[in-house]
Every structure is written in C-alpha cells, then in structure tokens.
C-alpha cells in the first residue's frame, strides 16, 4: 500500500525537479552568456550549465539553491541558537503563523456563528449569504491596504490587522460548509426529533451539529489555506519587515529571487502542515464519533 502510493508521487516529484532544472538553465542562460561576452571568454556547455545553476540573482533559482537557502535560514539558524533572529525563516514564519492562526480562529468562529444564524433565522437566511458572497468578490489585494490603513489610524497595529484580513478570507468557506452541514439532516430525521417533542437546542446539539462535522472539517481545510494567504497578503501593503510576506516583498525589491522562492516554499510547507494537521484532527474526531469506518 505504502510503496504503491510512494512510487507515483516520487515519479511526479522527479519529473518536476527535472523540468525545474531545465527551466533554470534556459532562463538563466542569457545572463551567463552576457557576462561571458563582456569578459570576452568562451564557455563550454558544462561551464554554462554550472553557472546558470549557481548565480546570485538568477531569474529562476535551481532547486538546490532554494533548499540550501531554506536550510541556512532555518535549520542552520537553530544550530547557531539564533532561531528567532531577523534572518531566520523560522522567525518570519512564526510571525505569519501567529496572524494566520488568530485569523483562522476569528474566521472560523464568525463563520460558524453566521451559519447557525442562517439556519435558525429566516431573516438572516435571506440577508447574510448575498453579503458573504459579495465580500468574496472584492479582490483581497484591493481591500487589504484599506483595512490596514483604517485600523492603523485608530491605533490598531501589528498582529490584529493581518488576522482580520485572514479572517475575512477564511470565514466564507466555513459559512458555506457549515450551512450545508447543519442542513444535512433529512426530513425523516427532523420528524423523528419532532415526535420526541425535542426543543430547538436539542435538535441542534443532538442532530444538526454532529451531522455537520464532516462538512465542517472540509471547510476548515479550505479556510486554513485561505487564512495563510490572507496573513501573507496582509504583510505586503505596509512594507512590513517581519513575516513571510515581508520576505517576499523584500526579496522582490532587491531582486533576491532565491529569497523569494525560499519564502514561497516556507509558506507552502506551512500550509501543507496546517491542512494536514486539520486532516489528522478530522480523522481522530470522526473515528471517535464512530463516523469513520
């Protein structure tokens, strides 16, 4: 079972890495050639390839450059005992992670509250959803600077504005998933509760809420990824100096492509870890509820 799934994955990864190296050679070749021409030297093919894969500011950094940078800014820093220095991705990752988690918590709480309202209140059912959908049609890049500036003007800085942008993105999948989940019990199950003269609270806690669990976890995964995007976007407009978003921005200011790519990878690894963690909690929870076989 393990080997059967590992082999295809490995093949795909190998193919991507090969393509990546090929792309790096092609995209960085120009600069190598120009430099050689300026210096008036002839380069052999091997020398060209070697140079394209070891430039300081390549158009496309090679995989090993990104991995080296990732190691230098994480593991190596830990070994030096400076895991939380300004040059450490662990430090920047932590900044982004804290905003992500706070935003995720706010967004999830808001999303669940709205979903409960929508399912139980006709007025909210009619009015909330259109606004929720409208909120997601506005590009986050347009609205993020406004949120930051407005909050800044009333003295709110740092973690909270970023978390609010995170929450803005992550509440939506939770609302949609939870509304669907809370409405998933069929007419017969609801009738059964009526024959017991069950109260609204009892129907909610004994039927609607447990039925919604699989839906909730699915939307939490989407919401977590959206939260991370929100936190990174929230770091862009202010010219922040801390966080993965700030690393991306600084990298692009100074043409530090290796730094950009390593920040991108750090973000991707962070997202995968967080979503995987939710998946794990989902498995454990559903298993304990007896819903997973």
């Amino acid at each position: 079972m393990m080997t059967r799934s590992v082999l295809p994955i490995l093949t795909v990864v190998m193919a991507i890495v090969a393509l990546w190296y090929g792309g790096a050679v092609l995209m960085n070749k120009r600069w190598t050639m120009d430099q050689a021409a300026r210096a008036g030297v002839e380069l052999s093919l091997a020398e060209v390839v070697a140079d394209t894969l070891s430039q300081d500011r390549p158009k496309l950094p090679a995989p090993h450059q990104v991995i080296t940078e990732l190691w230098n800014t994480t593991g190596a820093k830990v070994l030096e005992g400076r895991a939380f220095s300004k040059r450490s991705l662990i430090f920047h990752g932590w900044i982004t992670l804290s905003a992500t988690l706070l935003g995720f918590a706010i967004g999830t709480g808001l999303g669940i509250a709205l979903a409960v309202g929508i399912v139980h209140n006709r007025a909210m059912d009619m009015s909330v959803m259109p606004w929720a959908i409208a909120s997601q049609t506005i590009p986050i890049l347009a609205i993020a600077p406004m949120i930051i500036v407005v909050l800044n003007s009333i003295g709110v800085q740092g973690l909270l504005p970023k978390a609010i942008i995170s929450a803005y993105l992550s509440f939506f999948p939770v609302v949609v998933g939870m509304v669907k989940g809370l409405r998933s019990p069929d007419a017969m199950q609801l009738d059964l509760m009526r024959t017991y003269s069950a109260s609204g609270t009892q129907v909610f806690s004994m039927l609607r809420l447990p039925s919604s669990m699989p839906y909730l976890f699915t939307s939490l995964k989407v919401g977590m990824a959206a939260s991370l995007v929100g936190a990174i976007v929230g770091e862009l407009p202010t010219g922040a100096i801390r966080g993965l978003g700030a690393r991306l921005l600084a990298g692009s200011y100074y043409g530090q492509t290796v730094q950009i790519w390593s920040a991108l990878f750090a973000a991707a690894i962070l997202a995968a870890t967080l979503v995987g963690l939710i998946g794990l909690i989902q498995r454990i929870t559903l298993k304990r509820m007896g819903m997973a076989r």
Binding site: D191, L192, T195, S197, R293
Partner: protein, 260 residues
C-alpha cells in the same frame, strides 16, 4: 363502554401544492381499540402515511376531528403517547445502538440509571442484547430496523406507529421480523398501527385490516381478522388465512375500480 385509543371522525386533509390542492385524506373515520393491531393497506398515494402522520401530529387535518388517548394529537405527543417507526431505520451513525435507543430518553430527561435499564430492557425485547456497543453500520438492515423499533419502545409509549418498517427488507428477514413483532406485541400489549404493501403481512399481523384507496385517499373497507392471536408462520397456508387475504385483495380491487 371503553373509549377508543384512536378516534378519527370524518378526517379531511388537503395539501396545497404548486399544482393545486391534493386531497390526501377524505372523510376518514376509524376507531382503534386498546391492544389492537391495525394494518393499513392500499395502493401508493392513498394516504396511509398521511393518516399515520396525522396521528403523530406531524400533519394536521384540515377537517374532522382526531383524538389520541382522548387528547388532540399534539397533546398526545407531549404525553409521549406514541413511538414512531419510519420506513428507514434512521439511526444516527455517530451513536452506538445503545446510545441511539437512549436518544429519546435523553431528550425526555430520564435519569442516567433509568436510561440504562430501559435500554437494556428494549434491547432484549427486540433480541439485540449484546449489540448495544456496535455502530449502526456494523448491523444488517433487519437488525437496524429492530433497533429503531427498540428506540420507539424505549420510553414506554402505549401506541406504536409503524410506516412500512420492513418495506426495504427481503422476504425471509421480513417473515422473521413479523414473527418477532407479533411476539413483542403479545408481550407488551401495545396498540399498533402498521402500514404495509403486503397482503400476507397485513393478514398475518393484524386484528383489523384497513383497506384504503387513492384520489381522494379514503377507507374502502375495514376487515376484522378472525384468526386466533397465537399465529405460527404456517398459519398462512390455512384456508381461514387465505380467505381473509382474499377479502383484502377484493377490497383493494374494488378501490381501484374508481380509477380511469
């Protein structure tokens, strides 16, 4: 004279649908005495489910009067007069069998100890002792349906409403469950209202068979079952049995004559 457990007088029920009104029940009058086992049989759409749902106060008649234990159906529900068994077992997948049966007891506020003893009692009654800790998906369809009957019995309602509870099961399982249901009925003295599409099932189980016909849904015949209460499965081959079955079939055919 004793008052009937269920007394329907000239019940009418009209559903307002997008395609206009649908007369689901028309002038339905019926008395059910305590301890009766009444089967409802008739073609699809003749209002069997609707009648049961009226008794359970899940629908409300648009005309006539309906009394359950001398009360309105809504009051009777508050008094926990009936347990309802749906066509699908409808057990909650996140609860074990025992906790599924405990569901109505939790809602109705029985004490923990009382819940425990009642769950054990009804589990034995439907022959599922030892399966309390299983999840629904670990049980066969017939066992699940038995669990749902146990759930309806748990809070000791004296009326059991069953809407095609064995409709989705194969004949062999169904025979077995019919036998068990009769035994359970004899032991508990409940009043049973039972919807079915099967003539043998109706004749085998009932003390009274109500034949209905559609458009508009109404009662065309009420047949008193003269068979003795103790009924082994092979009673179904006796001439008495076949004669009653024949009457039911005739009643169904007569109802259909109104069609076309």
């Amino acid at each position: 004279m004793k008052t009937p457990v269920i007394k329907a007088d000239h019940l009418d029920l009209v559903f307002q649908t997008n395609d206009g009104p649908v007369q689901a029940l028309s002038d339905v009058s019926l008395d059910v005495e305590k301890g009766d086992f009444v089967s409802f049989i008739g073609p699809s759409g003749c209002g069997k489910t609707t009648f049961l749902r009226c008794v359970a106060a899940l629908e409300h008649p648009t005309g006539g009067t309906l009394r359950v234990n001398g009360m309105t159906p809504d009051m009777a529900r508050q008094e926990r007069s009936y347990g309802y068994v749906f066509q699908a077992a409808g057990l909650y997948p996140w609860r074990t069998i025992a906790r599924n049966i405990r569901l109505p007891l939790e809602i109705m506020g029985f004490s923990k100890a009382e819940q425990e003893t009642r769950v054990q009692k009804v589990l034995e009654l439907v022959d599922l002792a030892g399966f309390g800790n299983k999840y629904p998906w670990q049980l066969s369809g017939g066992m699940q349906q038995r669990a749902s009957i146990a759930r309806a019995l748990a809070f000791d309602a004296d009326i059991l409403l069953m809407d095609e509870p064995f409709g989705a099961l194969d004949e062999i399982v169904r025979d077995h469950l019919n036998e068990q249901l009769l035994e359970l009925w004899a032991r508990t003295q409940k009043t049973c209202l039972f919807v079915t599409h099967s003539i043998p099932e109706a004749v085998y189980l009932s003390t009274k068979i109500v034949v209905m016909s559609p458009r508009p849904g109404r009662i065309t015949d009420v047949i008193d079952n003269t068979l003795p209460r103790a009924r082994p499965l092979d009673i179904r081959d006796t001439p008495e049995f076949l004669e009653i079955a024949h009457r039911v079939r005739e009643g169904l055919r007569a109802g259909h004559a109104y069609d076309d």
